[in-house]
């Protein structure tokens, strides 16, 4: 496998973890989060600090997971207080605050970021395999959650909180759980990203990234793990596949985003579903 392929597959793996974890919060539990980049970034920074201090991969992974989920549970508490209308904008706010704060902290390297993160020792392909394994684990976990009682409770909360309450499902605890799990996985992805680039600057975790992740969830089909995985792979490859348009890449990318949503608003999952329904009828 060429180094180019390895680097792209690594980023695909990271994006799959991010999109699937966001799908647990926004897809399963209906809590729209447009600040997933902040949790990803928190994980990356924590892992980078841990890696620089100890050079231990497991410790760095742990640090990433903990940092992501701590910030996530904090935001989860906030989500209990505000109307769902406000949540989307509040999470955008979390993202901007994270970037605006880290930018100014000299102990986090400020604008220069954190560099000199020691290599994991697995090499580029070793890293890629680790990333792919963790991505697969995330997907399997997501599928498992979706079929478990917890997944049922998430969906109940997402669709109608009051109805969920009559079934004895306390919305609060499940919202917190969704945020905690989803952001822990984002933190994990952050740690993997720090291993991949070996230096981080805060610009990599901006709001645009969060929107891209939400686009993966929406295009994949909100709530569908497989759809979201496919969209994460597709949206990561798309800019590479359209490299030949060079100067017009963002234009084409934006245009395709609009077109895909306009033509398949229910996402890939709905598209596939409809296709099956149609063939069955025929």
């Amino acid at each position: 496998m060429s180094a180019y392929t390895i680097s792209i597959v690594s980023i695909i793996g990271i994006n799959v973890i991010l999109a699937v974890s966001l799908n647990m919060i926004s897809g399963f539990c209906g809590q729209i989060s447009l600040g997933h980049g902040a949790f990803f970034g928190a994980g990356a920074y924590a892992a980078a600090l841990a890696m620089v201090a100890t050079a231990s991969v497991p410790l760095a992974l742990l640090a990433g997971v903990v940092a992501g989920s701590v910030l996530g549970i904090l935001v989860g508490f906030a989500s209990l207080r505000v109307r769902s209308d406000f949540l989307a904008v509040s999470t955008i706010g979390v993202n901007f605050l994270f970037v605006g704060f880290v930018r100014k902290q000299s102990w986090l390297g400020g604008e220069m970021g954190i560099s000199g993160i020691p290599p994991t020792g697995f090499g580029a392909s070793g890293n890629m395999i680790m990333i792919l394994l963790l991505a697969c684990a995330t997907v399997v976990f997501s599928l498992y959650v979706s079929r478990s009682w917890m997944g049922f409770a998430f969906r109940a909360v997402g669709e109608d909180e009051q109805a969920a309450a009559t079934l004895g499902i306390g919305a609060g605890a499940y919202k917190l759980a969704a945020f905690g799990i989803g952001t822990a996985l984002a933190g994990l992805a952050g740690a993997l990203y720090a291993f991949f680039t070996q230096f981080i600057t805060v610009d990599a975790f901006d709001f645009i990234l969060s929107v891209m992740l939400m686009a993966m969830v929406v295009i994949g089909g909100i709530g569908s793990t497989w759809g979201v995985v496919a969209a994460a792979v597709g949206l990561t490859l798309l800019p590479e596949a359209i490299r030949f348009v060079n100067d017009y890449r963002l234009l084409v990318f934006g245009g395709m985003l609009v077109l895909v949503i306009r033509l398949a608003p229910g996402g890939l999952a709905a598209l596939v579903h409809n296709l099956f329904a149609r063939t069955r009828k025929a």
Partner: protein, 289 residues
């Protein structure tokens, strides 16, 4: 004098935020969509103003062209992008909106150059007045006066005219308004037209203020506007006006006093989150949907 200088900065910027956000909050009130592509409308307005002004030599003609072109563009966004997506979850049209913004930003770059466009003649940008040590520029005065006129006009329109009353009624009580014979689709067109025109005026004034229109001109303003409309209690014009002015002032002072540990662009969101923790229903209280 120093604190008054800061206040002038804050108020003039608040006025810009208000004109930018009003369209956004009304779109939200009507359709529950976070109309992120409003930033593209803002940028389009700025480009039209500068290009027409450079071609004709008249800045006034530039503004006139902008308030004609952008409402059509706004209506087209509604008609072609949002209307077919209304029955889906609000995140779906929002992502489409983001896609449109990315597309437009790059289209501006490709059409008008990455270097941005400046006014060929822009005496306004370099004119300032000095009142006993307080400096205020011609464009700042223009921003404040325009916003005052616009909001007074908007108030009269929504309280004194039939169309305006219907519009306001539809935003707050869509079903009742419809039963009184107000056509909700017409209201939406009107809404996108007026909101887009105001954003264009704001964009044009910012263009004058910076003497530069580049493809990213709408970017930051657009996300701050999202914070503003939530602070203002989604859908409320008055709340948005208040929130805009407050944010302008907070930023003007905040840049100096908390700039060392927090980026200016994050101040709006800090204010938002603090407020939501204290008053989860927003500044002006709950809006009855």
């Amino acid at each position: 004098m120093y604190y008054i200088d800061l206040a002038v900065t804050g108020v003039s910027f608040g006025c810009m935020y208000a004109m930018m956000s009003v369209g956004l909050t009304l779109v939200y009130g009507l359709l529950r969509i976070l109309h992120v592509a409003h930033a593209a409308v803002f940028a389009l307005g700025a480009y039209v103003v500068v290009l027409v002004a450079n071609a004709t030599g008249s800045i006034a003609l530039g503004f006139l062209a902008a308030v004609i072109v952008t409402p059509l563009f706004g209506i087209a966004i509604y008609r072609l992008l949002y209307e077919p997506l209304l029955r889906y979850r609000p995140d779906v049209p929002m992502i489409a909106s983001v896609g449109l913004l990315v597309l437009m930003q790059d289209a501006f770059r490709i059409m008008f150059g990455e270097q941005g466009v400046t006014f060929r003649q822009n005496a306004l940008s370099f004119t300032t007045f000095d009142f006993h040590g307080v400096t205020i520029s011609a464009v700042q005065i223009a921003l404040i006066v325009t916003a005052a006129v616009v909001f007074a006009g908007l108030h009269l329109f929504t309280t004194r005219t039939r169309t305006g009353l219907g519009w306001r009624a539809t935003v707050s009580r869509p079903k009742i308004a419809a039963s009184f014979g107000v056509d909700p689709v017409k209201v939406r067109y009107l809404n996108f037209a007026i909101g887009s025109a105001l954003a264009a005026v704001a964009g044009g004034l910012v263009a004058l203020l910076n003497n530069l229109v580049d493809p990213s001109i709408g970017f930051v303003v657009s996300y701050k506007a999202l914070a503003i409309i939530v602070l203002g209690g989604l859908g409320s014009v008055r709340g948005t006006l208040v929130a805009s002015l407050v944010l302008g002032l907070v930023e003007a002072y905040g840049t100096i006093f908390i700039g060392a540990w927090l980026d200016r662009d994050a101040i709006a969101f800090l204010a938002l989150i603090v407020l939501l923790m204290i008053r989860p229903q927003g500044f002006t209280g709950a809006r009855t949907a």
